[in-house]
């Protein structure tokens, strides 16, 4: 069940309009959306101080940009997520990632091999999130919003500026890669994959 945390649309629209007129009315919007934006950022950067830095950046950007915000039929939180996604992307761009090898890893996955539930059981949330962190950028964003934020694929598409179909592909490939990584974890790094 997804909790109803989005403001009633008329109430949200009124708050935004007032904040655009007088920035001091940004406070209620901040109060409303801080928890989920912070939690999303924290789930991505895994460092409290960095999460605080990025969350601050998100809300300062939102405050500074609220005059330019236009309601496009999507909730205000989608806009905040967009800012957060971009801020996190900026952060990770400064850390070189070996995406190509991971992309290749996804291609090598063997869909016929069942996931070892025991292994998955033994793995903690930290391990799963570490694997998600290792995914290519776009997959990582889509997977985090899907599995971490319980957003609908269409909503993720709004945030990422992609079609729902493109998001489906990202989540599919990310899930397949994770499953492959789980299998690798189960076998151990030095073991050969099964033949046939």
């Amino acid at each position: 069940m997804v909790l109803e945390m989005t403001l009633p649309i008329q109430e949200e629209a009124a708050l935004i309009a007032r904040a655009q007129e007088d920035p001091e009315y940004f406070g209620p919007l901040y109060d409303q959306y801080f928890p989920q934006i912070y939690r999303y950022v924290a789930s991505r950067v895994r460092s409290q101080s960095l999460a605080e830095d990025i969350t601050s950046e998100v809300f300062f950007k939102a405050l500074r940009g609220i005059g330019r915000y236009r309601h496009t039929g999507h909730p205000f939180s989608a806009w905040l997520y967009q800012i957060a996604v971009n801020a996190i992307t900026d952060h990770y761009r400064s850390r070189r990632r070996t995406e190509e090898s991971l992309e290749q890893g996804a291609e090598l996955s063997d869909p016929s091999t069942p996931v070892d539930e025991d292994v998955a059981q033994r793995m903690g949330a930290e391990d799963i999130w570490a694997l998600i962190e290792a995914l290519p950028e776009q997959q990582r964003v889509a997977m985090t919003l899907k599995y971490g934020e319980d957003l609908r694929l269409a909503e993720i598409g709004v945030i990422m500026g992609k079609s729902e179909g493109a998001v489906k592909l990202l989540v599919f490939r990310g899930t397949a890669t994770l499953r492959q990584r789980l299998i690798t974890e189960r076998r151990g790094p030095g073991e050969d994959p099964p033949h046939g």
Binding site: L3, P23, F59
Partner: protein, 771 residues
């Protein structure tokens, strides 16, 4: 609300993982990619991810962020458009990094917040100390118990510093920087007025501003790379031939072609005299503050009057006599044609605000603004070139009769030759010293000497083959800047400390010429030749030499009253205007709009100088500074306050103000160096003056270009403890290398860098033994 979209979830436990229709649709039956094992994996991943321990935000952080946002929101609301005047008289740009003495001057005035029983006042442990140890914590003592969270939320340190705030008691705040402060830097601790709130609701009468300086460390070693300063690119000009500050700080550019102000979209067309053959040094004179219309056209040898109200220049019609013109700098009033000469390179200098000296047929003549011309100083021989320079108080003059460099004492008529002097010397501000270039053996050397003979002092000797030029004194005559043209490298800017003789290049940029040191001391302007013939007008933001501290009683009084004025100008009080009027001399005709010029947060008393030698009238230069908000950038307004300190109490007789000038904000590069990296690459180390927002340090803000090609795969790392960013490249082909640091790089105050920094190298640094 059934149709309301749902985005995310809020605080508290995460929702129980039940079936997700998206996953079922993506991996389940009926989909082309249907795969039960994947669906199981997806559900398992979802379940595990949901069990991720919630990262609880620090409640203090959440409250702090909210308060910070609200503070900024209030600034935004208060700063909604308000009318700001433009002035005909425009002052020099930029505060730069405030000199420590400037801080010392401002302290007494900032602390002297007009008090009342209900007002909050604060004292700081660093108050009045321009040499605070870099390891020291800052203690603020309030006069009454404070709302602690409000104070901390409204507190800002610039340059940005990460810190811990502790309250030993409700009236004492200790700010402990997380890392050592930067040596030899002026800091400002500020607390927004309404954030500095006492528990009884009282606030200060103005924003709390506590400037202080950190102790310097030993100067960095000279050589390659040199000490660096931030550079502000101001305009692009074709045929630029001259650059000079007026005494009030307005930067004037002479150029024969188009001039483009950075930030504008259209070039300024050259003035309409296309058939006139181009003569060296002839062009249109522009104010950098307003490049749309030239102050004068076809001008040669332009020079501003001591009061910065008039501009004198020559016109050199082909085959005709040169004509001396004077035109108002503010653009009002008719121009005057005062004299003519057959010289092809005539000189002109202001004797005072209403008379000029010029040369004609080897003689020195004086012309007043009423057109009356008289021959003066008949003992002065100028030679056919007519070239001369005169000291500021007209006590001495340099000429070159028959090619012999000669200094004339204009009061006695005596003269002294200066063997070996090359070019034209420059006088310091007081006229008691001149600097010049002469040969020492086979090398050029820089000398200073008194105007009446005596042994010259050699300040520096250039290396073999290096050509010196473009001498210019700093505002306080403590430093001399020069250009050093090294074969194979180009012309770079250096500066020498006159007291110690220590010198250093202060920019790696080449092609520099036409130096001009701002009268406020914080900027050194120059032309930089670009490929293709155009020049860029650049301004180096200096950690400027300190002006001489005021020590005379009258001068101190003048400074006091000018500072009181500035303090009232930044004070949000209904009685400020009345208090200001009590500082004015009877009959002083000062527009009321100039008395309270607008929304400023702090001020610096920059300098005070007597209007005339031994005069009791002083001109005090004040910088009113407005901090950056989301709506407007940091800016300053130059204010000249004339004070008559001769009476029983000093009184203000006149105020003139310049235009609002944007100041650089955010992180500033204080030094940069380049070394060879293993494998044929380069390693850059960039030191900043402020703690950086680590999120913004990366390829989005730092780039390296080699031979015009962007260098990929930079390794960029930020060391918070030292405020250093290291950038390592892979192997580089030979060719010029340019490192650029630009926005969105931000400090921990979330202020982006506003002056992009560039380090240009002719090629990758060569590997040294052992590297």
């Amino acid at each position: 609300m059934a149709d309301a979209p749902r985005f995310g979830h809020g605080p508290g436990p995460r929702p129980q993982p039940d079936d997700d229709p998206d996953l079922r649709a993506l991996f389940g039956e009926g989909e082309s990619r249907s795969d039960p094992t994947l669906l199981a994996a997806a559900r398992r991943i979802r379940s595990l991810a949901a069990s991720h321990p919630a990262a609880d935000p620090d409640p203090a952080y959440r409250a702090h962020l909210r308060a910070s946002l609200m503070e900024e929101a209030r600034f935004r609301q208060r700063s909604r458009p308000r009318h700001r005047r433009r002035f005909g008289l425009v002052f020099g740009a930029g505060l730069g990094i405030a000199g420590l003495a400037m801080v010392a001057v401002v302290l007494f005035s900032v602390v002297a917040v007009p008090g009342g029983a209900a007002s909050v006042t604060v004292r700081a442990s660093v108050q009045g100390n321009p040499r605070v140890p870099v390891t020291e914590a800052i203690q603020l003592s309030f006069n009454q118990p404070m709302v602690e969270s409000s104070v901390v939320n409204g507190l800002t340190i610039t340059p940005a510093v990460s810190y811990h705030a502790k309250w030993p008691d409700a009236t004492t705040l200790v700010i402990a920087p997380q890392h050592d402060l930067v040596p030899n830097v002026s800091y400002v601790v500020s607390i927004a007025r309404h954030a500095a709130r006492a528990k009884n609701g009282a606030v200060p009468l103005s924003k709390v501003v506590i400037p202080f300086g950190t102790e310097p460390v030993a100067a960095t070693a000279q050589g390659y790379p040199p000490s660096l300063v931030a550079i502000n690119q101001m305009a692009l000009a074709d045929g630029a031939t001259g650059l000079a500050y007026t005494p009030s700080g307005e930067l004037l550019l002479t150029a024969s072609g188009s001039v483009i102000a950075y930030g504008s979209t259209a070039p300024v067309p050259p003035p309409a005299s296309p058939s006139t053959p181009s003569t060296a040094g002839v062009g249109s004179v522009y104010s950098l503050a307003d490049l749309l219309a030239p102050l004068a056209t076809s001008a040669y040898g332009a020079v501003a009057s001591p009061d910065s109200q008039q501009l004198a220049y020559w016109t050199l019609p082909p085959g005709g006599a040169a004509t001396l013109h004077v035109t108002p700098l503010g653009g009002q009033g008719p121009g005057l044609s005062l004299a003519s000469t057959s010289s092809t390179t005539p000189e002109v200098a202001w004797l005072n605000d209403s008379s000029l000296l010029y040369s004609s047929s080897g003689q020195l003549l004086q012309v007043n603004l009423d057109g009356q011309t008289t021959a003066v100083y008949p003992f002065v021989k100028l030679g056919q070139s007519g070239q001369f320079t005169v000291a500021s108080q007209a006590q001495a003059l340099f000429g070159s009769p028959d090619g012999v460099p000669t200094i004339y004492d204009l009061s006695t008529g005596s003269s002294t030759t200066v063997p070996g002097l090359q070019g034209v010397p420059v006088w310091n501000a007081a006229g008691g010293q001149l600097a010049y270039i002469a040969m020492d053996g086979g090398n050029q050397a820089l000398f200073i000497a008194g105007p009446y003979g005596g042994q010259p002092r050699e300040l520096l000797v250039a290396p073999q083959g290096v050509t010196l030029g473009d001498l210019v004194y700093s505002a306080g005559s403590d430093y001399l800047a020069y250009t050093a043209d090294t074969p194979g490298v180009g012309s770079q800017i250096g500066a020498v400390d006159i007291a110690t003789g220590s010198s250093a290049l202060i920019s790696t940029r080449v092609g520099m010429s036409h130096l001009a040191w701002s009268p406020f001391g914080s900027e050194l302007a120059a032309l930089q030749a670009l490929p293709g013939g155009a020049s860029e007008v650049v301004s180096l933001q200096l950690s400027n030499p300190a002006p001489t501290a005021a020590n005379g009683t009258a001068e101190t009084s003048a400074l006091d009253v000018a500072s009181s004025l500035a303090q009232l100008q930044i004070t949000d009080s209904s009685t400020a205007l009345t208090q200001i009027q009590s500082l004015l001399a009877p009959g002083a005709a000062i527009p009321s709009a100039d008395l309270l010029p607008g929304n400023f947060d702090r001020f610096y008393a920059v300098s005070s100088t007597p209007v005339e030698p031994s005069s009791a009238s002083y001109q005090v230069a004040i910088e009113l500074v407005r901090d950056a908000t989301t709506v407007h950038p940091a800016a300053s307004l130059q204010e000249l306050v004339m004070v008559n300190a001769g009476g029983p109490s000093p009184l203000i007789t006149a105020i003139s103000q310049g235009s609002l000038t944007t100041l650089p904000t955010g992180p500033l590069v204080v030094s940069a160096s380049a070394n060879a990296a293993p494998g044929g690459g380069a390693s850059f180390t960039i030191q900043f003056n402020s703690d950086l927002n680590a999120v913004t340090v990366g390829p989005q803000s730092i780039s390296v270009v080699d031979s015009g090609q962007s260098v990929p795969n930079l390794q960029i790392a930020y060391q918070a403890a030292t405020r250093e960013v290291t950038v390592i490249t892979g192997p580089l082909p030979p060719g010029p290398l340019v490192l650029t640091v630009a926005a969105p790089l931000s400090d921990v105050n979330h202020v982006q860098i506003t002056v992009p920094y560039q380090l240009s190298l002719p090629s990758a640094p060569p590997a040294t033994a052992g590297s």
